[in-house]
Amino acid sequence: MMIEDILTWTCVYAYTVSSILLLSGFIFNKEKPLKLASYIIGPAFVAHTVIFIMRWARTGYFPANSEFENAITGGWFAIGFTVYLFLKNRSLTGVALFTVPATLLFLGYGVMKAPDPLPLAASLKSSWLVIHVLFAQLAFGSYAIASGMGLLYLLKDNQLRKDEASKFYEKLPRLEIIEENMFRFVVYGFIADAIMIVAGAIWAKDLWGNYWGWDPVEVWSLISWLLYGLSIHLKVTLGWKGRRLAWLMIFLLSTVIITYWGIDIVVENTRHIFGVTSLPGLME
């Protein structure tokens, strides 16, 4: 219990410091803060991984039973992809400007809500949980990276438009490479998203008796999947690229955030509220 708490707060503080460093780096066009941030994010990701494994081992189920666990899992994928990009191409460190603060916000929200593990509700006891949530978080992580790439693209493009030499921005990859990576993660997220929806539909049949119930969460996930599908069409067949595509990627992430975290907060008639509240018949 203690170790998990310490590691969680270590992650929160590490991501906070990294976010400040990343923002400072980009605002003041300095490379050193970015370098420092990358030194912090690596160990923080290791701590994040340990929390993820400890929680799974302690509860015996895939961590997806509360806001805290969803933040841990979703954040793990977003930071995991970021670290992967660090290792693959050092010049892509800037993508963390988007993923680290986003993970920090979700983690902070999860910690404030309910960090203690809850017993797994009967409705969540299904093999489909792992498949459904795993692909959901994979999709989220990929889309978050695509949005990060979108942001990076716009920052670099703005600098190029100013026609001022900047060593800081010169070290970022070429716009074409940023755009290609952005699209790569959209494609990855789109496939994971599709598998998530299909796995959810098959699970829903066993749990609720129908593959599709036009539930608000289902409808939003369909909307966001269709929007990402549309963006792929726009790029591949209608030739969308550049700033337009970058803005689209940044905007589209909001639809995924609404699906995963927003609907449960604002809508009462969703059947996608598990674990933290009861099945019909449970006393408050």
Binding site: L118, P119, L120, A121, A122, S123, K125, S126, R174, E176, I177, E180, F183, R184, V187, F190, I191, A194, I195, V198, A201, I202, W203, K205, D206, L207, W208, G209, N210, Y211, W214, P216, V219, W220, L222, I223, L226, L227, G229, L230, I232, H233, L234, V236, T237, L238, V267, N269, G275, S278, L279, P280, G281, L282, M283, E284
Partner: protein, 469 residues
Amino acid sequence: MLRKIVKLFKGVKLTAAVIALLILIYFLGLILPQKWMFDTRDLYELWKEKSIFNQFIDFIGFTEIYLSPVTIVLLALFFINLLTVTLHRIPVILKRAYLQGDMPNFSGPVLKGGKEVKILATDRAPSILSGELREFFKKKRWWFHEGKREHTYVAVKHRYSPIGFLFFHLSFFLCLIGGIVLTYTRFSGNLPLTEGQRFEGAMSQFRVISSDPNIMKQLPALSLHLEKVQPVYENEVPTELTAILTIQYEGELSKEIIRINEPVNRGAMSIIAESIGVSPLFIVRGPSGSQIDAAYVSLNVLGGEEDTFQFETDKRFTFAVRFYPDFVRDRGAAATKSIEMKNPAILLTAGKDGKVIYQGVVKLGEYADLGVYSIGFEDVRYWVEFLIIREYGKIPLIAGFILAAIGLIMRLVFFQKRLRIAIEEGKEGTVLYMDGKSEFFQYSFQEELNALADGVEVYIEKSKHDERE
């Protein structure tokens, strides 16, 4: 005219427009009140009368937006567009997968000076070099084929990837077929059963029938006997619900355990445990103490809410019940320590002709005195509401899901990369030209092309070395 229509329907702009409109419709479905949200028809009518806007959205069918004529028309357009695009693309896809049409015909050293050209000079004879290239690409799992002109070749990675487009788009039609069959053959009804109770096929026992099939109305012979229900709670969270049932399906008898997420499936029929409640046994006695009425009354009170019932024998009496599974008094008020059935009690409010005549806590085995009658709480059992479903269409639907996933992966992960290779003999030796194109990620492909060119060079050197050995 027909040509113009076909041109319109095979256009990707129409696809984008229809998808955008469908997204808008689905979004509206989230913010506009829907018919199913109203508990009764009267409440819906009241809401409708409130404003002209409400009447308007009701008129255009947007209170059942997912089935509204506008949505159906859009879906029809979507599928017509999908079909037209798919049919139109078949020859292109077959050509791209090199299943139909000519191989590339390199009429001269067209590759020279191209953007992504790699040039290798070697002293190998063209015939030997072509054999080495074939071996090299075969080892790398590239499909290698001769071009029309001598010593020209095409190498393709993920040759069949374009077929993924067909798979993905056809999967929508499989899902459509599955969805239509499901909709038209679906029977679904909610059947509440108390422990010990039987269902012998009487439709009147269903609390509600939410889907009545349009075709194949005859349901298979089914009878059920609910033997035992066991909910499990951990820290006030329901972690398990076990219902033991004897099922007779088409004459075949079996004993089954149904849990949440673990329905029993028999042919096209599924039995799903949906919700749980309690059925207290109420016994009504007259002034002499003789039993007048007795029944297990299924109440929806486990969530702490109040439920009501009436005597069948005397409709003047009404009863409101709150249930406490583990009864305690908390500062004088009725409360429950946990949600486990350790010390069940009810808070009974009895009314007669609209006036409250009794209110108090009645524990298991106790009686409440109502004047003429007394009502006892003698036993309590669980009830479970089962969702009984019969539907067909699962196979095309699941096949559609699988085909969609395969199609997407084929198309977007294993996308096609093509190389054009030409060998020319010059005065200074043999020159190998190589250029290529990737369906996506052209910049990354440039790196791959460089690596391939290096690989070919190393392979040729290795072959030479092996020959010398």
